[in-house]
Symmetry: C2
Subunit: 405 residues, 2 copies
Amino acid sequence: MIKIYLETIILKNMKHKFVKDITQLLKKIHYYPKNFLPLHEPSFFSNEIKYLNSCIKEGFVSTAGRFVNEFEENIKKLTNSKYAVAVVNGTSALQIALKLVGVKSNDEVLVPSITFIGSVNSVIYNNAIPHFVDSEINSFGVCSKKLRKYLENNTIVKNKICYNKNTKKIIRALIVVHIFGHSAEILELKKLSKDFNIPIVEDSAEAIGSYYSKKHLGTFGKVGVLSFNGNKTITTGGGGIIITNNKSIALKAKHITTTAKLPHKWEYIFKETGYNFRMPNINAALGLAQLKKLKKILSKKRKIFRVYEDYFSEIKGIRLMREPKNCKSNYWLQTLILDKNYSKYKNLILKETNINNIGTRPCWKPLHKLSHLKKFPKMNMSIAEEIYKRVINIPSSAHLTMKNK
Amino acid sequence: MIKIYLETIILKNMKHKFVKDITQLLKKIHYYPKNFLPLHEPSFFSNEIKYLNSCIKEGFVSTAGRFVNEFEENIKKLTNSKYAVAVVNGTSALQIALKLVGVKSNDEVLVPSITFIGSVNSVIYNNAIPHFVDSEINSFGVCSKKLRKYLENNTIVKNKICYNKNTKKIIRALIVVHIFGHSAEILELKKLSKDFNIPIVEDSAEAIGSYYSKKHLGTFGKVGVLSFNGNKTITTGGGGIIITNNKSIALKAKHITTTAKLPHKWEYIFKETGYNFRMPNINAALGLAQLKKLKKILSKKRKIFRVYEDYFSEIKGIRLMREPKNCKSNYWLQTLILDKNYSKYKNLILKETNINNIGTRPCWKPLHKLSHLKKFPKMNMSIAEEIYKRVINIPSSAHLTMKNK
């Protein structure tokens, strides 16, 4: 009786110690004059104000003006894509990307359960059906091995179209997401895409400046998407971009994201339903200024990773997420991974750090578990659920100042 | 034979003269150093740069920051609305507004044929069916008289729901648009809305600063919408806002336009499909600066109207559009109306003015005539077609400098 009581006390204190240690470490290694350490803030330099002023002076802040073109040109150069179409945000970019690869009402779209809600919303906006697939434990991206087996057992390809044998619906696309800026198994997934005739839409919302084998992420799929929301590596306030090497896809992207108005000097004629998704010039101006500092931002984020890794390598039960083999990651969000038997501490760490004004967050709750998404088709989801249990993101802004060990 | 020949020559010259006279008049009354007179450009003062700089300095350009709230507060004050929710553009605002009044898949929505394509796209995005209604010749807004007769003959109200007797579908909303900033017959339409149990969504995209009987447009319907696109009276780059006096509608508007994330300090939990439609802080900062100059802009636009009217009152066959009785219009776009028997000159005037670098445009082509929208239900559309034949918008920017007569 006394033994059990003592064991409980010891366990409780140990637990407490582990949670406190991590919190104290985060407090110790950062300078943060604001008394609050956000998860991720944008970093500004000097061009931002200059470019915004140009917008006002030139009188172009909206659908006309030079910055949207310049921003698109610079993204093309960075990613080595032939075409780029800037839009209002990453979710809109993804919504249109799915349309561009042929997704129609009632089609199924394979989408990971471990991703931001926008990935699956973009499917729903197209009146298509999200079909959830599992992730793998290294990159947190779609598991190509598990997916291949699942497709072999559950689909049939007829006339280059992949059908779900259970629902009889067409599987029209696969959304690959590069989580926290780390590349998914993109080559394996590309092979699978070819074998099953399912085009890839590459959700690289989190992955600007990330590469697989020196090729920028977002350029492996038929269409790729980047995001420039305020919490991303660089920001346009709100914004996204569609990248592709396919000319007709690019032309269609530009056309339908700019209301699908037919070219005419004064008449307003439309032949199909378009979208008011063009990135305003003022947001592109901000983005261009940010883009010019991307290299600097990436090197700072890489340094932050190294400092964190140095410190966390000494703590048992937890490790820092590293870029996958052959990849160069942008380290958008720095990520702690708890050992399996330490996952029980996740919520305590989140609570303790947030109480102490350190912005941390868990991975997104697996989407197939959300009440309104439970009804959709899915495979076995064991790894997605494990990732959710073991992952914590920690402060990652490029301008963080940290104490070297 | 000779007589007919001479008559043709005379007619041709007369035609030529009328078209040339209008073009020459527009050239004469404007100073335009840039050698090009745009249809509508934003006017900037000094606060714009100041507020944008604050955004950068404070580090908030995206989904966090004070300017969105301040912008919403100022719109509430201006319009005397209880609630305001700022979003990425007017079309998105309208898409959500329809959802907020209960529009579901397969419902019909009454929408004028004379309006910007965004009005009807917002219906289609909701998987609802646009049902085109005619306009009246004074305000160019929905004709309440004609619509009442049409609804009497074609609908039945059961349990407070209006059904289309022909299609058996529910008519769930009526979109009223205030064209070029002039109020539609909003009181008559409101009465009709009550009689047939069809809530009004008030598309006031063009009508900031416009009033019917001292009440701001957009506040008559269950939900109203304003736009701040670059071509509007004031701009946020791209942007729109939803206004309402209904608290639960307002709360839902804010919730679903900000991804519908449930409140939690770190978890990502969603119970329904939301939208990534929040106006970025940087766009709100620009909007707030503009809003503070609205009075000045409106008085300049009113002055421009008076100068135009002075000049055009002398030309036979054409007149300037005036604000309707009991209304105060923002005169967003100044509008020439050709007499019926002069409508044949419309395209020639558009051509001649645009060749001479004067930005003019016709009214939108009636939407029920567009190839992809022809299939949708509609009433007799005689006035919409007449408006299209007789209307030309002329340069209207608030900062125009004109020669008084």
